[in-house]
């Protein structure tokens, strides 16, 4: 304490240039230990990915291949859309992705489970963004070929924000990434603030109706429900599970949120929730509290997960929004 006071007094006495030097001496080492990204004189970047591997690129990547829809969404949100040269056939957002595909600027490299390694390599990417759960084999093959492959594996909202930050670092768009992450965090906080004092509603989330599948602890949907001021009636299950409709009737949800995909059965789950006789006596059905949520928004680990959170919060607590 005494020492700090002394330095402060001393600092007042020395001139401004000396003050600056002193400040930078304190701050620079702090910065370098905090930041995962290290940029040396040649512009090379090294960032640790979600598999704990240090991934290096020689310069800011100019040709990026994305192996999951969420990573594609992140790249476009960071304004790197013009650097994306390859994506999966499931990458459908933002709409420009499809336009760029038609214009031949983005090449489809396959699905996320089975991307075509030859196609990826023929694009000469200087960075491949993969997702752990979906492209494990592709990652080890690309590693062997010496292609810089950065793997994301977010498990919750905090992880998603962190993965956006690290993608920002490895692509040299740190400023954009931190702006985006700040925005996301403040929107999440706003939802928490509005719903924290409200009663916890019992919520059922339906992934699919035939057979009935729901999301348990560990799924993004479970966290969204909780953060939106609800309680997932199947929080005791882990990840995605097939459940007995009778268990739904017994746990009596007050709100039902049904997932809609892009496929033919898009409103199948919603129709089921609205018509299944075995749900007649649930509060959600009696009060007409059955909603439909677009699956892509609430299950993709990208920037739109916050849109998903706001949507779910509006379903659960319409009075607060």
């Amino acid at each position: 304490m005494f020492f700090i006071q002394l330095t402060l007094i001393e600092m007042e006495n020395v001139n401004t240039t000396a003050k600056l030097i002193l400040l930078s001496l304190v701050i620079l080492p702090m910065l370098s230990t905090l930041a995962l990204a290290e940029e040396n004189s040649t512009g090379a970047l090294t960032v640790v990915d979600d598999l704990g591997r240090a991934v290096s690129v020689a310069q800011i990547p100019q040709r990026i291949v994305s192996l999951s829809p969420s990573n594609t969404e992140i790249l476009f949100a960071l304004g790197l859309g013009d650097k994306v040269v390859g994506a999966t056939k499931y990458c459908n957002y933002p709409p420009q992705v499809k336009e760029l595909e038609e214009a031949g600027k983005i090449v489809i490299v396959g699905g996320y489970v089975d991307p075509d390694i030859e196609t990826i390599l023929s694009l000469h990417p200087d960075l491949v963004l993969a997702s752990r759960t979906r492209s494990t084999e592709a990652v080890s093959l690309l590693d062997k070929e010496g292609t810089a492959t950065f793997v994301t594996d977010p498990k919750n909202l905090t992880d998603i924000i962190r993965s956006i930050e690290s993608i920002g670092k490895i692509t040299g768009s740190e400023a954009e990434a931190s702006r985006l992450c700040d925005q996301m965090q403040s929107r999440i906080d706003a939802v928490s603030e509005k719903t924290s004092s409200l009663s916890k509603m019992r919520v059922l989330y339906i992934v699919w109706h035939d057979p009935v599948k729901t999301a348990g602890a560990g799924a993004f949907e479970d966290e969204l429900i909780e953060k939106a001021g609800g309680v997932n009636i199947f929080h005791d299950l882990s990840s995605y599970a097939q459940v007995d409709p009778e268990a739904i009737a017994v746990r009596n949800p007050e709100v039902i949120i049904a997932c809609s995909g892009m496929g033919s059965g898009a409103d199948g789950p919603t129709q089921w929730a609205k018509t299944e006789k075995g749900l007649n006596q649930t509060d959600a059905r009696k009060n007409g509290r059955i909603y439909q949520a677009e699956g892509d928004i609430i299950t993709r680990a990208g920037p739109r997960i916050v849109d998903g959170l706001e949507m779910v919060a509006k379903f659960i607590h319409p009075e607060a929004f």
């Binding site: 699919w208 299950l237 009737a249 995909g261």
Partner: protein
Amino acid sequence: MAACKRIDLLEQYRQAARRKMLFFLVLTMVIALLAGAAAILGEANLGISDVSCCILARFFPGHYHTTAFTDMIVWDLRLHRILMGIVAGAGLGVSGAVMQGILKNPLASPFTLGISSAASFGAALAIILGAGIAAGSWMVIGNAFAFALLSALAVYLLAKYKGISSETMILAGIAIMYLFSAMTSFLQYAGHSDQVHEVVFWMMGSLGRSSWDRVAMLLAIFVICIPYLISKSWDLNSLAAGDETAQSLGVNVEKTRVIFMMLSSLITASIICFTGTIGFIDLVAPHIARMVIGGDHRFLLPGSALAGALLLLGADTLSRIILAPAILPVGIMTSFLGVPFFVYLFLQRRRTFW
């Protein structure tokens, strides 16, 4: 001496008959008990009196009283599912026994004859391309049904060129099966991930799709088909002795084979369009029955029906309660339950059962 032998034979026959009756009686009782247990077991903590009052309340509304919640659990969620398990299991057992009988092959089943894979293709066509013979929610069901029958017809036409022997029918069936599975894989390759999931779920099979209407529809088909099949079971017996023997006994071999094939396909198609493909029961239920009561089709057909009903109802009940509130796909349970029982019977019997 001769009289003594006569008595022995009669005694043996009576013993065999008693054995068959015992098998029927025990299986019927076990199914009834299991159905009762399945009506009581579940997430909702209902007691025997709650459930029985609730069931009786529908028949005697003045005398018995129940709550809306109990009524929903018992009538809208449990009972039709239990009946579906019994009816579908019985149907699969019978059609498996008939196919094994007409083709004289222990591996014959709706699966090996391409019927299941054709139904899956029909469902995939409706799910991924939205193309089907019926509209709306009936599209998947209608397609599965139509394609299952179509594959049976294709097997028949293919076999007709080479003469309808059991070998040609099985070969034609296997060819059809591979064709339809390849086409399903192609559709899945072309489809969106959501649609692919939907096809996979459909193919897994589940009694979760049951409803009172569907149980009634299945019952209507079975009431017509199964008594006819059982009444013609002498023809199946003579086919088992060989085509020539059957012919010399006055059986029109080709016609019989085609009629049996079509009826068992109709039964299978009507089941799997509502449940998805539930494997194993159609193959193993007839074997279980055959190992206990022998190969006489007059008894084997009803025996296979009972064994199939018991297997499917038991598997579905276990799959509901074992990991509650989560449910295991019923196909996994049928194999877990059926295989050990099958192996036990298989090892118990010294002589060959087929």
